[in-house]
Symmetry: C2
Amino acid sequence: MQHTNDTIWQQLEGFEVGQSVAFTDVLQQLPWNADGLIAAIAQQHDTGDVLMLAWMNQPALLETLQTQHVCYWSRSRQQLWRKGETSGHWQRLVSAHLDCDGDAILLKIDQIGQAACHTGRRSCFYNQVQGERVVVTIAPITPQKTASI
Amino acid sequence: MQHTNDTIWQQLEGFEVGQSVAFTDVLQQLPWNADGLIAAIAQQHDTGDVLMLAWMNQPALLETLQTQHVCYWSRSRQQLWRKGETSGHWQRLVSAHLDCDGDAILLKIDQIGQAACHTGRRSCFYNQVQGERVVVTIAPITPQKTASI
């Protein structure tokens, strides 16, 4: 049952597959964190590989949805981070999926230029915990370190 | 080239596949955020489905690695959140992968009890942005809402 004072997240929770709300209404109720950001997970759309976790503010999210080129917010540089702008390792958006409370977004993308990570590796998640050790499990694709920004 | 004043992340970045450092040394340099947390992505290990994003503090991370049952930190309840403790929808850890700067961890897991999401859905990422609409794309597995905590 839908109550008029439900949040949009509660409304969506009760929806059947195919039911929808306006994106503008969702945008108004996105629970940005204290820094005005939501977490964004980039997943290669066909292999399922999780490539990186980064952050988006509202301009980054809107630009990503409009251009289909993924744009994050760089917390270290405090500016929009158009992934691949300088490195060529950009990300084409395939689809975008908000989670149940709207503070994270899953971006299914096509990683162009192969390396999502600034180290030149396909994925940022190359440090696997194996018992008492942390082991590097992915090699850089590019022979030299890539400034994958 | 490895410099003695490199952070452990810089050391790992320069490693070849198979090279490792002690987990205890990594733990000392994990860049917990202001709330003492890192972001944790849960991915079903065999299908590649991204199921949820949650948070871990140090006790949650250590408990997860020790028990192989995923434990998060609940920001809303401000307590350890042993996933599935009450719902039965727990997560068996298959492998854990820190990212290049250590502020996110990818957990490859086996989702027991099917629903990772508190709405009874397999994944929390059921709200797909489709143009001007946000559309529910995943139905609950369980007929009634599951308190998947």
